[in-house]
């Protein structure tokens, strides 16, 4: 049966292959987190100035008084029952907190990712068409700057200029706290809040996609089949987008796929700088509070998302390049 659906068979195999990988990710995450000095009990006790007894009680409650391998066993056993544990700081099930924060991150990521991929590809194609022109040099220079600039610094600069100096956009958060009517005004309000973090988030990835697209396009445009296409009398746009871009796209898709992992990492900076109520800030807050179950839960969800992104990238290969087969 499955033989009739190579794509399906391939996907199932990849997912099964991912199971031991996820297992190792959990083990490594667990060990690394517990190696960091400090623990959730000491952080929680630090906000309440607790006594040694209270500290000991907290350690017991969180199971930190047991040996590490026992703690790990308990965690894995819970995971098998789809229980990600209980956040020590939020005092809520980990999965619930993640689900609460996920939509904000998805909105930011989807917007930034779309801007980065679309703009990066389009600008890359244009730059390759006008290779070594003044415009191309300027775009390459700008992309180098965008690529090198730390996200948190770019974010601060954008806030200072657009929010404080020009006063066009809000500086932080996802919602205005005063005088926003529900319905469309509320949607517009979120979009206004979204703009600066999305641009900040997108810049790095856009420059990366731009540079890869430009380089690969230049290479492709120099090949014989492009000359053939041109000599057949096809118009330039068709040659660029149908012939050259399709051939140049494979490495670009790879980069976009790999980028996904970095996008998650970038969300920590962007969301912290912009006070965006998503997973990135949750990671930052949870690490500060040594909220072990929360950190592990987030890492697990993120790891699975990255694996999914890689799978989607592989599937996209086939759609773009018919030579790729799934066996």
């Amino acid at each position: 049966m499955a033989g009739d659906y190579p794509l399906l068979r391939y996907s199932v195999r990849r997912i099964l292959q991912a199971v031991p990988l996820v297992f190792w990710v959990i083990i490594i995450n667990f060990t690394i987190i517990h190696l960091a000095p400090g623990d959730p009990a000491i952080y929680l006790a630090s906000v309440t100035e607790a006594t040694p007894e209270a500290y000991a009680e907290l350690r017991k409650e969180f199971g930190l008084d047991k040996p590490l391998y026992v703690q790990m066993g308990i965690y894995l056993w819970k995971l098998l029952h789809l229980d990600l544990g209980y956040s020590t700081w939020h005092n809520s099930p980990v999965l619930g907190v993640i689900i609460d924060r996920l939509p904000a991150t998805m909105l930011l990521m989807a917007t930034a990712f779309s801007i980065a991929s679309l703009m990066g590809v389009v600008l890359g194609v244009i730059a390759s068409r006008y290779s070594y022109s003044v415009g191309d040099h300027l775009a390459t220079l700008a992309s180098l700057a965008g690529y090198s600039m730390p996200i948190f610094w770019l974010g601060q600069l954008l806030i200072l200029f657009f929010a404080l100096y020009l006063d066009w956009l809000p500086s932080q958060g996802m919602y205005s706290m005063r005088g926003v009517e529900p319905g469309w005004p509320a949607v517009l309000d979120v979009l206004k809040h979204l703009l600066l973090p999305a641009i900040t988030y997108a810049t790095y990835h856009m420059t990366l996609v731009f540079r890869i697209t430009r380089g690969k396009m230049q290479e492709t445009l120099a090949q014989d089949f492009i000359l053939t296409a041109k000599s057949k009398g096809l118009n330039e746009r068709r040659v660029l987008y149908r012939h050259a871009l399709r051939n140049a796209l494979l490495p670009v898709v790879t980069v976009i796929g790999i980028n996904f992992a970095y996008v998650m990492a970038g969300s920590v900076f962007t969301e912290t700088v912009f006070g965006w109520p998503g997973m990135g800030r949750l990671i930052f807050e949870s690490i500060t509070a040594r909220d072990y179950p929360m950190i592990l839960g987030i890492f697990l969800v993120v790891s699975m998302m990255i694996m999914l992104a890689n799978l989607i990238t592989d599937i996209l290969y086939a759609l773009i390049d018919p030579r790729v087969a799934y066996n």
Partner: protein
């Protein structure tokens, strides 16, 4: 006659004008307050829930103090003032306290608050408050509710700081509705898992309307508040912004109306004062009385030597430290508690004026001669998150270099630093910001008490033991007469200053900052946990 009339007329006009002028310039004058507006407060992190019973930390306190009330509160001179208790009497030489409650106070669910709720809060909730139980447990004996509006607290022995301590939210209990909580008592977990951890019901000026995780908490005016016409603001929003720079920009831009002093970079205070859209205060931290200290680990051979500790104290120029670390906003500290606690404060550390000759002599005497411009190395530890401590450490490094002490600076995040210093005692010098109010028994004693050397945060980290100091510490809190108690504390400060297990550097400034559109945002001596019922839009 005509002339007299004209004179009389001008005098009347003058008087009216003068009265208007005076009235409009009295801050918070009764006629000026009007209802309306949304006050937005910035907070560094999402509290996760509003359970003050088991997590009385700042992020929970900031929203929760507006949802709950306490029995009493404090004025700026730290005197107890009525809140839910309209009056009280101290009897039996301080062993019995009788509180008379207000009548007709309602919880947000409409049920009346009575002495049963207070008894429940004191008996069932307080023992689980990790902060309050420390000082309640050894002295509390019994709580009685002889009638609906009277509560009697009986103590095993007199406890002089009790009323002051009950005036702050981490000291006395907030009053919780017994009818909702009674089935959720008995353990930390039971309290935390109660539905009222996330949907709190109190008697306070505001009620919870919305909790958007990671973003904000929205509270609305309690229409049945006992202290009507307060609260004046229609809504109170507490917004979570973790980045310090973004928070400040949001304040300057008007997206946030209030940031407490701890969230204001102090070196920016002078610039903010010039901004006409903002008001930078200089009050509202008297009860917390925070002071920046250097803690010297007496377990280590070098810092264990009293001459070395004294030499370090002599080698420092505290004015320069305050100038460079806080932009000169902070006042130099000269005691082990904040000078706002006038009855007990003494500036005994003022004796250590910078004197490099003396410092060098003491170091020679301690057996650490100068060799090639250097005597020994020490490490200064500070926890990331308080940039001024890092700056202070850099200045200290430069100053101590002059007497041949080579300073290395290390910094970790908060959780890691606390474990290193307070649990593992693995440090030479720690930069530590301590609350020293509202009463020294609560927040000063812990650092010098020999019984508090152990494994808990903010304990006696220097491992300081002085029999004379200990005797006084054990006795002072039972002295009902404030003058005699004050004298005992002054003796303690003198002895600690001579031993120098800590070196106070500066008193943290009360630069709470709010939008000029609002007034009376800070009306209590404790900034973070101050109710906002008085705040009104101008």
């Amino acid at each position: 006659m005509e002339r007299r009339k004209v004179r009389f007329g001008s005098a009347a006009i003058f008087l009216v004008l003068a009265a208007v002028l005076v009235l409009t310039h009295i801050p918070g004058s009764a006629w000026a307050q009007k209802r309306g507006g949304t006050l937005v407060i910035g907070l560094e992190a999402d509290p996760g829930h509003f359970n003050l019973i088991v997590k009385p930390g700042t992020t929970v306190q900031v929203p929760a103090v507006n949802i709950y009330n306490k029995l009493i509160t404090l004025d700026f001179d730290l005197n107890p003032k009525p809140e839910l208790a309209k009056s009280w009497e101290v009897k039996d030489g301080g062993k019995t306290l009788v509180f008379h409650l207000r009548k007709g106070v309602k919880f947000h669910d409409g049920k009346e608050m009575t002495s049963e709720d207070v008894k429940f809060s004191l008996e069932k909730c307080l023992p689980y408050n990790p902060r309050s139980r420390v000082f309640w447990k050894p002295v509390a004996e019994k709580v009685e509710a002889p009638d609906k509006y009277t509560i009697v607290v009986r103590l095993k022995k007199p406890f002089a700081p009790l009323l002051t301590v009950m005036g702050v939210i981490f000291g006395g209990p907030a009053i919780y509705p017994k009818h909702l909580w009674k089935d959720h008592v008995g353990s930390r977990k039971a309290f935390l898992n109660a539905p009222y951890s996330k949907k709190p019901v109190g008697t306070g000026p505001f009620m919870l309307k919305e909790y958007k995780k990671g973003s904000h908490v929205r509270l609305v005016r309690n229409p049945n508040y006992w202290n009507a016409p307060k609260p004046y603001a229609d809504e109170l929003v507490i917004r979570f912004v973790s980045d310090a720079n973004t928070r400040l920009i949001a304040l300057e831009k008007g997206e946030i109306d209030y940031l407490r002093a701890a969230l204001i970079p102090w070196d920016q205070a002078a610039r903010l004062k010039k901004n006409p859209k903002l008001v930078v205060l200089d009050k509202g931290g008297e009860a917390t009385g925070q002071v920046e200290f250097m803690l010297l680990n007496m377990r280590r051979p070098i810092t264990g030597n009293v001459k070395v500790r004294q030499a370090i104290a002599y080698a420092l120029d505290k004015n320069q430290i305050s100038q460079l670390a806080t932009g000169g906003t902070a006042k130099v500290a000269d005691g082990i508690m904040h000078s706002a606690m006038k009855w007990a404060h003494k500036g005994s550390f003022a004796q250590y004026k910078q004197d490099l000759k003396m410092a060098n002599r003491l170091l020679d005497e301690a057996g650490y001669p100068m060799r090639g411009g250097k005597r020994f190395s020490l490490t200064v530890t500070w926890a990331k998150g308080r940039g001024f401590e890092g700056l202070a450490a850099e200045v200290i490094k430069q100053q101590l270099k002059k007497v041949g002490i080579d300073i290395k600076i290390e910094s970790f995040d908060r959780a890691a630093t606390l474990k290193k210093v307070y649990i593992n005692h693995d440090f030479d010098i720690m930069m530590q910001f301590f609350t020293t109010g509202p009463d020294p028994k609560i927040s000063v004693t812990r650092v010098y008490d020999r019984n508090n050397i152990g494994s808990a945060n903010f304990n006696n980290a220097p491992s300081y033991i002085n029999v004379g100091v200990q005797r006084l510490l054990d006795a002072e809190w039972q002295i009902p007469d404030v003058k005699k108690r004050g004298a005992a504390w002054r003796q303690i400060v003198d002895m600690v200053a001579a031993d120098a297990p800590v070196i106070p550097l500066f008193e943290t400034p009360f630069v709470h900052t709010h939008s000029a559109k609002w007034a009376d945002v800070v009306t209590r001596p404790y900034c973070a946990y101050c109710t906002r019922e008085d705040a009104y839009q101008k």
